[in-house]
């Protein structure tokens, strides 16, 4: 297995740059709509068109969003935020420069916790998070002769999140991005949609011999459009670099693109063509000061974060890691679960309901939990019915739950009563059914007694039939056993 050894000699070093588009109403430096889509060139004004004489002004919501993300990623926040111009020519960049932050990013030196390959927790450092504006869109494939430009996106606010080169495998990159996406969604600052480009990722990748302290030459893969593809692109690029080095080539610093159908990365431009962006302080904007007061005010309105909930579910609720991760995967699910827990005594039961009946219903009809009609309070009442022994779990989940979906205004007890589903747990009444069932199959009684204990299910079935499903299975089971063992 010479091949395996060749790849195993190396370890990859990966850093990610993520651009998260803010879901603010207006753009970063003007009041134009920042909404996605729209008729091309309709979300514009002289300011976002970069017309002569126009000036930028800062969208304060973006500053707040950046502070939220900084707090969520344990960053140090910068007090004096200076904006800078990054100068380059491109047809979809109307001013000929992007207003960004250079030397004073609003957030610095934070981290995100992810799971590594062995399932252990690992911290990935966040070098910086800064505020900037998006460029417009150049559309090359709509017109056979011309490139079309849509400036709706020009000026839409972005946060750029730059990681330390702490990521050591494509899987870790996948987990890191998943975590970032979860965070921005929990904070409700970005919709996290990579296909629409509201979350974009560039990956810096190099390989070095295992144990080496000296990083190899890196390449950058730009604009990968899904988390899965980031993983694929990195997998390919690591392999490519190792093979190149092993065959005596040198890796050159270059920008590469990812071709999803073939799974390959392709060279786009080399360093010789790299830009000199001539950053300098933006003279049209005064620095933005982030005070301790602002930070503590924002701290007060921070929503619960996925890793906090995850820990709570494991340590306080004693759920499994698997359950905790499913429940915290999306904020609306977690919020539903949180609310449900306020109505029930056992969070485990609540978790089972959310991950069982509720999730499978949502999946089957492709409904988001935000649009789920049954309120947590009602599910809580249903759980209570089961716990009090008034209905069986199967009646609750298979009969009452579907009826609640069509009649969410009703309460579960009402439905159970209307349908005569309140179960029989009165021993005397049950004993009658049990005796009848046993009397029906004398030969099976003999089989049971000779050791075929599994036969008890047959008697249970008869009891349920006779009771029209209202028998409390636990009590019935106990009675059958008692009589048979006599």
């Amino acid at each position: 297995m010479e091949h395996t050894t060749m790849y195993e000699k190396y370890e990859p070093v990966i850093g990610l740059e993520v651009h998260a588009q803010m879901q603010t109403k207006s753009k970063m430096y003007s009041t134009d709509s920042a909404e996605y889509g729209g008729i091309p060139n309709s979300h514009i004004s002289p300011i976002s068109l970069g017309h002569p004489g126009t000036l930028p002004r800062i969208n304060k919501t973006v500053v707040e969003s950046a502070i939220k993300l900084g707090l969520a990623t344990h960053c140090t926040l910068t007090e004096e935020n200076i904006f800078a111009r990054k100068n380059y020519f491109y047809a979809d960049l109307p001013k000929g420069y992007q207003i960004t932050q250079d030397k004073t990013p609003i957030c610095r030196n934070g981290f995100i916790t992810i799971k590594d390959k062995s399932g252990q927790e690992k911290k990935i450092g966040i070098t910086r998070i800064h505020m900037e504006e998006d460029a417009g869109k150049s559309i090359h494939d709509l017109d056979p002769f011309d490139t079309l430009i849509d400036l709706n996106r020009a000026g839409v606010p972005l946060l750029e999140i730059v990681s330390e080169p702490d990521i050591q495998s494509p899987e870790e990159a996948y987990n890191y991005l998943t975590e970032i996406r979860k965070l921005v969604r929990y904070l409700e600052i970005c919709d996290g949609n990579m296909e629409e480009g509201s979350l974009r990722c560039d990956a810096n990748i190099s390989v070095m011999l295992k144990g080496s302290k000296q990083f190899g030459q890196r390449t950058e893969i730009k604009n990968i459009n899904s988390i899965r593809n980031v993983q694929r692109a990195i997998e390919y690029e690591i392999k490519r670099q190792i093979e190149a080095i092993e065959s005596g080539e040198t890796i050159t610093m270059e920008t590469r693109g990812f071709d999803a159908p073939s799974g390959k990365t392709i060279s786009m431009r080399t360093k010789e063509m790299a830009h000199d962006y001539r950053y300098f302080p933006e003279p049209d904007l005064l620095p933005v000061f982030v005070s301790e007061k602002t930070i503590s005010e924002i701290q007060k309105i921070m929503p619960p974060l996925p890793h906090q909930l995850f820990r709570k579910y494991i340590h306080e609720f004693e759920l499994s890691e698997y359950d905790a991760s499913i429940l915290t995967d999306s904020k609306p699910i977690a919020l539903y679960f949180e609310e449900l827990c306020t109505f029930v005594s056992n969070p485990k039961t609540a978790a089972n309901w959310v991950m069982g009946s509720i999730k499978s219903y949502l999946n089957e009809y492709a409904i988001e939990i935000e649009h789920f009609v049954i309120k947590p309070k009602t599910i809580g009442q249903l759980i209570l019915l089961v716990e009090e022994g008034k209905v069986s779990h199967s009646i609750a989940s298979q009969k009452i739950f579907p009826l609640l979906i069509s009649q969410p205004e009703k309460n579960p007890l009402q439905i159970a009563q209307e349908n005569n589903w309140i179960q029989e747990s009165n021993q005397d009444a049950l004993l009658d059914f049990v005796n009848k069932a046993i009397a029906m199959y004398p030969e099976k009684v003999a089989e049971y007694k000779s050791g075929k204990k599994g036969i008890i299910g047959l008697f249970m079935g008869e009891v349920m039939k006779l009771s029209k499903g209202k028998a409390d299975p636990k009590v019935a089971n106990h009675l059958i056993q008692e009589i048979l063992e006599k």
């Binding site: 002569p52 126009t54 930028p56 420069y97 005064l286």
Partner: protein, 473 residues
Amino acid sequence: MKQYRSLAEIQTDLQSHAISVKQLVEAYLQRIEEKKHLNAFLEVFASEALKNAEQIDAKLAENKAGRLAGTVIGLKDNICYKGHKVSASSKILEGFESLYSATVVERLIAQDAIIIGRLNCDEFAMGSSNENSAFGNVLNPLNEKKVPGGSSGGSATAVAGGLCLATLGSDTGGSIRQPASFCGLVGLKPTYGRVSRYGLIAYASSFDQIGTFTYTIEDASLLLEIMAGKDEYDSTLSSEEVPEYSKALPFSKKAHIAYYKSYVEHEGLDPEIKKCFFEIIEKLKQQGHSVTAYDFPFLEYLVPAYYVLTTAEASSNLARYDGIHYGYRSKNATDLNTTYTKSRSEGFGPEVKRRIMLGTYVLSAGYYDAYYTQAQKVRRILRDKTNEVLSTNDFILLPTTPHTAFDIGQQVADPIKMYLEDIYTVQANLTGLPAISLPLGKHSNSMPFGLQLMGKSFCETEMFSFAKNLLHL
């Protein structure tokens, strides 16, 4: 019609019905036509101005007119006026019409000023003689062989030639005060952050300020009062209250005045200007004001620091003129790259190109610290040193220009010499302080020259007050 030199005169005549606004506009239009060869106006908004004049006459009849009723004003061609062309005297903005009005224009119109046209200037306000315009140079109405100064040359000529009552200019390094000096006018550059830059085509954003050309301090202060103050479209504006500048009275206290020895002893300063300067110093002393001379070892650094920083900003500010979105696009362009290179090479004039290249150079990797960072340091030191002098003095008095208006064509071949035209004016822009050039001298060559009063930050009221004293010495 008599040549009016102040709004007060006009408003008196309007009140006594000696004249109507319409007649006033007609007279100015006629005069513009007669003086067409001065090349001050790039475009005259004749029919529109007449229509507005009629409306203002109607308002006057009902006593509902604004404070600027009767003010006929011209705009430097780098100030945007909705629905009108604006070109910064450059070919690169060929055919461009502004979609919005500058904040200052809106505020003037709201007080019933009449905008009569747009005025020639150096391309993108880069120049000291108005010889860098894509639409030809402007003549000095006081001596047509001479330049009017620049970059707001058309604005100076229009007022000095009696083509309108007042004009707006922009001052990045002296572009209002220098032509005011050459044309015998009051030229005002307010404190940076006093007047909204929204709608002013940027040359160097941290230096540019809109200001005025007038005959009188009264008109300058009234116009400033109306234009100044908070504007949500310009975040660099100060929230400082706008005082009633127009009510500024002559300075009644004894003033503390500073001047710099190195400035007046500079070899480039015309001896007659120097003489006049000291005569004024003497008179001020006689009136009981205290005058202190300071050493100021930074004079040699001012112009270099100014040119490093302004060209850096300009190289970025002018990147938007790329032939893609609006304005001039080269017919010879074949792809994206040639659209940029050819449109910009053909669309910009030589001085603008020189400054873009200079600015690009000082910001580029490897040179940034040696030039840009260093110049920023000079700017900071200069600001501190100037404020230090102003902490114990009310004003600094200095020449506006080293000499009077020079001959057309005399200096075009020597950009460095042209840059030194700004030697006395850039300090106010580097420090952001307010300064006003006052027509205080007349040279034996029969051309006027100005002296400059520089005040404390946002202390325009005091500056106007003392300027009144100086004009009546």
